[in-house]
């Protein structure tokens, strides 16, 4: 914590259970330092991450979403992460077109032995998102929930 006045982004991570989740675990057990900004959802494979999950996370107000899986060639299911790679490329580009900063959605390959890399990814991403500021995409300043069109 330390600098308590500083705004702490909230990140949501979808981590593949075979590599990245184990990597995150290792980061913890080996006492690697990284911001406590990330909440983790363990997925069977990074290929499980439906674009819907990403949008829902943004809708719920998470400031950034991380999708992390095994390095190419290391997928427990042989090819799952290759599909993730394709899908993520598309999602990032499309969200950018919509007006969502692509930095809010990031992807990484983190193996079970890369505790250090996981800490690094989260640290860097947290810093980047701190610069982007809070996610206000779906918030409504006037708390106008769309019901004001009628008298």
């Amino acid at each position: 914590m330390g600098q308590d006045s500083e705004w702490q982004p909230r990140l949501l991570g979808f981590l593949c259970r075979w590599c990245s989740y184990a990597g995150a675990d290792l980061a913890g057990t080996s006492r690697k330092k990284y911001p406590a900004s990330i909440r983790v959802i363990r997925v069977p494979c990074s290929g499980r991450v439906d674009p819907l999950f990403i949008l829902k996370a943004l809708r719920l107000g998470f400031d950034g979403v991380l999708v992390s899986g095994c390095h190419p060639g290391d997928c427990h299911y042989q090819t799952g992460n290759y599909f993730t790679r394709r899908r993520m490329a598309i999602i990032k580009r499309f969200l950018e077109y919509m007006g969502i900063d692509p930095g809010r959605l990031q992807a990484s390959w983190v193996s079970a032995s890369e505790g250090g890399k996981f800490a690094e990814v989260v640290t860097e991403m947290t810093q980047e998102i701190r610069e982007l500021g809070p996610n206000r995409l779906f918030t409504d300043e006037e708390r106008d929930n769309g019901t004001k069109t009628a008298p």
């Binding site: 769309g146 019901t147 069109t149 009628a150 008298p151």
Partner: protein
């Protein structure tokens, strides 16, 4: 009461005047689609393009989405708040006779038995200023439903286009009150009234689409189980909600809750009998098949509603025909209903 008239160029001033006392809603296509929006001053440009809106004025009384009430959750339970208030006095300018009739049709359901507080509050506080049609669409068929495109039956104040002026008639006390307050109207002459009469006749003649609305009831009842017919006519329907959402007499709604960080609200929003999940129960769904849903839609308007309230729940506004992505046309379906004798023979 003798008729009055107002100059076309004075309409904007009239709206400005009313705006001081009422929330005034007029046809607008600021966002590229004709719907109702708050009058924001300027000139009454809509008079040039306005034929009817895509989104019917029912949306002002029964909005696509409204908060029924909000609530807060805390340790020992919920605190339910009051529904958000509606405007005390408001006015819709330019409503067409078909849509005005539709509001009366909606009221039948909303005030039958238990009172629907949301709709009825808006209805009570709202004033309807009608504007007769001069350019009905080719999809319009109001005259088949006993409505003339210049009908003053369901409005408070009625305007009829007579060229440089509009003939103005107060229909109800609300309308009289409106008129008594403005100095922009003047007495109409006999010639004005004659021109209005001409305009009315001409408008009625321009509605060329016809349907046998009275005969439909009997045929629909007789053909209710005619699965072949309903399957055939529903084949091209894509089960979207356009014809029901944008129908001025459709009132079906859904209720949904939301709770975010202990603050919540219950919403009601338009729903449609065209959607497969509309009647879905945990195990059964009485209208899983498309033809059953479509049959429900047609029968509700032309058979069930007349059975309940003695009035057809269709006003011939033609939106369902104009806006349907596959040109599903209720008038074609009604006119292709098998005659009763024919059905008897087949049996």
């Amino acid at each position: 009461m003798t008729a009055k008239k107002i100059a076309r160029r004075d309409i904007a001033d009239l709206l400005n005047e009313w705006s001081r006392e009422f929330g005034v809603f007029v046809p607008s296509r600021d966002e590229g689609v004709a719907k109702w929006a708050r009058w924001g001053g300027g000139d009454a440009g809509f008079l040039e393009w306005y034929r009817n809106t895509v989104v019917p004025p029912k949306a002002l009384f029964f909005p696509p989405l409204e908060e029924m009430f909000s609530f807060q959750k805390d340790g020992d339970g919920y605190h339910v708040g009051q529904p958000p208030p509606t405007e005390d006095r408001w006015l819709v300018f330019g409503i067409r006779p078909c849509d005005a009739r539709a509001l009366a049709v909606l009221a039948l359901t909303f005030k039958d038995g238990y009172q629907d507080p949301y709709y009825l509050a808006r209805r009570k506080n709202g004033v309807l200023v009608g504007l007769g049609c001069t350019r009905p669409y080719e999809s319009c068929f109001c005259t088949s439903l006993g409505i003339s495109p210049t009908d003053a039956a369901n409005v408070d104040l009625m305007l009829t286009d007579i060229g440089d002026d509009f003939l103005v008639e107060a229909v109800t006390d609300k309308g009289k009150e409106l008129l008594s307050k403005t100095s922009l109207v003047q007495a109409a002459t006999g010639a004005d009234e004659a021109r209005a009469e001409e305009a009315r006749d001409a408008a009625g003649a321009r509605v060329t689409r016809k349907v046998d609305s009275q005969g439909a009831h009997e045929k629909l009842r007789a053909g209710f189980e005619d699965k072949d017919f309903w399957e055939r006519v529903s084949a091209k329907c894509i089960s979207c909600g356009i014809c029901t959402f944008l129908c001025p007499t459709c009132y079906c709604f859904d209720i949904s809750d939301e709770l975010v960080k202990k603050q919540g609200a219950r919403f009601r929003s338009w729903d449609s009998c065209a959607f497969p999940l509309y009647t879905k129960m945990p195990v059964e769904n009485p209208r899983r098949e498309k033809w059953r849903r479509l049959r429900q839609k047609v029968c509700h308007k032309y058979e069930f509603y007349p059975d309940s309230f003695d009035v057809i729940a269709c006003t011939g506004c033609g939106r369902c025909i104009r806006l349907c992505p596959v040109n599903w046309d209720i008038t074609r379906v009604l006119s292709s209903l098998p005659a009763q004798e024919q059905l008897r023979l087949e049996r």
